[in-house]
Subunit: 375 residues, 2 copies
Amino acid sequence: MVEVLEGRPANVGFRMPAEWEPHEQCWMGWPERSDNWREHAGPAQQTFARTAIAISKFEPVTICASAQQYSNVHKLMQHQTNIRVVEMSMNDSWFRDMGPTFVTRKAEPGIAKQTIAGIDWEFNAWGGIYDDCSLDRDIAKKIVQIERIPRFPHKMILEGGSIHVDGEGTCITTEECLLSPNRNPDMTKSEIENELKDYLGVTKVIWIPRGLCGDEDTNGHVDNLCCFIKPGVVLLSWTADEKDPQYERSVEALSSLSESVDAKGRQIEVVKIHVPGPLYMTEEEAAGVVSSGHAVLREPGTRLAASYVNFYIANGGIVAPAFGDEKRDKEACQVLQKAFPGHGVVMVEGAREIVLGGGNVHCITQQQPMRPASS
Amino acid sequence: MVEVLEGRPANVGFRMPAEWEPHEQCWMGWPERSDNWREHAGPAQQTFARTAIAISKFEPVTICASAQQYSNVHKLMQHQTNIRVVEMSMNDSWFRDMGPTFVTRKAEPGIAKQTIAGIDWEFNAWGGIYDDCSLDRDIAKKIVQIERIPRFPHKMILEGGSIHVDGEGTCITTEECLLSPNRNPDMTKSEIENELKDYLGVTKVIWIPRGLCGDEDTNGHVDNLCCFIKPGVVLLSWTADEKDPQYERSVEALSSLSESVDAKGRQIEVVKIHVPGPLYMTEEEAAGVVSSGHAVLREPGTRLAASYVNFYIANGGIVAPAFGDEKRDKEACQVLQKAFPGHGVVMVEGAREIVLGGGNVHCITQQQPMRPASS
């Protein structure tokens, strides 16, 4: 087996790089469960495929698919030379949350040591929205094994989508998720904060009270509400409609962010990006999900936790969700292009299919940072 | 998908390296089917594990195991830092035969091109000794995908264990296997020979009439009868007992080899290595196999196709089967040490468990050669 590392990553020089730092590749899963994805996951698979292909124009992609889906995916991707398909079984396909959180450290001249490792957090399906997550709990392990990258196992329950870092010592997260009693009820806020510091290599954690409106599946993951676009600057999901329940959440986040200072002593600057819609699950969409009793119920009329900040930063590219809300999609594209002037912005059509399942582009991707060169 | 290459490997500069050329790693599967491996594959798994660990002292090893077996193997290998465990489903675990045949070519200054590729032969479970080989048919594809190595698909049915090369233009094989009507009945001997030449990058094919006595499963794979120990020299399974049906086969092979000249014009020199036993399947061993109607029957009293040439050449090491025949095991170890004076020889205890399933160390391993350095 590939090495299990002892100790706490920050103590031995590791830190989680910002998402805009160079990647070696992007990892994705493949949706298939009929009790979460409508029409036996067919429409979602099309959007996952589009997402993978979009990212593969910027960096190599690995799609992991179950034995049952392997041939299908292999065939779908037969003309995509920058995508490999690897067999991996899973309960569902949210590699942001199940995958390892990669950390890196600088090489030191004359000292042979690992410059990359994967943190393997405990996983309990976001507090238990489906009942069996035994396969998902092995995803991080399987990914680092394939890459022969050592692993830091951790007993704390944490999903990758519940944290964002600026690569310069600051982490943002939400109290709604990390302090939810279905995660780590025996840990205090300050104990959790210490783990984030020691494992992500940060010195400052900024706590936002709540995540996006409607994001009950994840208990308000930060990656659906806001993200760093560079150190000191956070992009925040926004609505101008005071009657929208999102308004209160956005104002609250704006205020906690604006009042915060990051690890380097910078006052956080906030850039707003308007949410689409509001969007709701239709009768037809809800009816396409096969209720099994083993996963969360999908009911018509549910507010969709749709947000443009749920994008992926690839090497030189931004791959972001488009929801079919023509006005907001276009507006979001412009905000993203302005936020990342050096990146090509690609809006993935059909991202509504991912939000119907409970997340978006960021939730289904996991970057593997480039290993720092040995010196 | 990772690239599919057009054309014939030899025409674009590829050749199959000899097994003693440097490896990047070794690939293995993991046995599990109760209708081929006694006691639900428990004893065989122990021997596979010992084999993998022995090889991992010389070069990195990848063990592929089904989703069902993954946790078991991961745990078994937890202290083996040079072994990774990768999920892969399979019908059985003979990676020599199901895996890709890797070919390499030299880099050319200033020209960006692939220096390694995998030949993906057609596979039909050795003419059909079990009825479903749909998963095995994807093994080669899955392996090259993991490595992002391009693939040469081939329509001819061929197993890796049915060929050996000297890396200098010569291939040895058996008529019993390659001309068996359950493989490629529509191809003539000369057509098959042409495919070997164009895909393995050889110019001379030496045909031995028959393989080892008792090797009905594979129709006499050459890798259980003899192998190159260096260019111009072949190690041949031998018996001094004229009443043993193996005697006739060994004499026949000795004569066809001795009369042959290799691609470089060298007369083949033959070194003999005595087979163990003869060994036969016991009542208890046969009774431990659960008959399913989907695989070959294992019957007590069957002559085991046991041979010491079924070893693996690792980087600096020879990993060979030990059958518990004290005298012959010791003798074989000495012959191997003399044949490979620069290699450490490791005899794997319990190799009888592999021959009970139909092969040995060479049959369950597949070397991935080092990529020639770009110049």
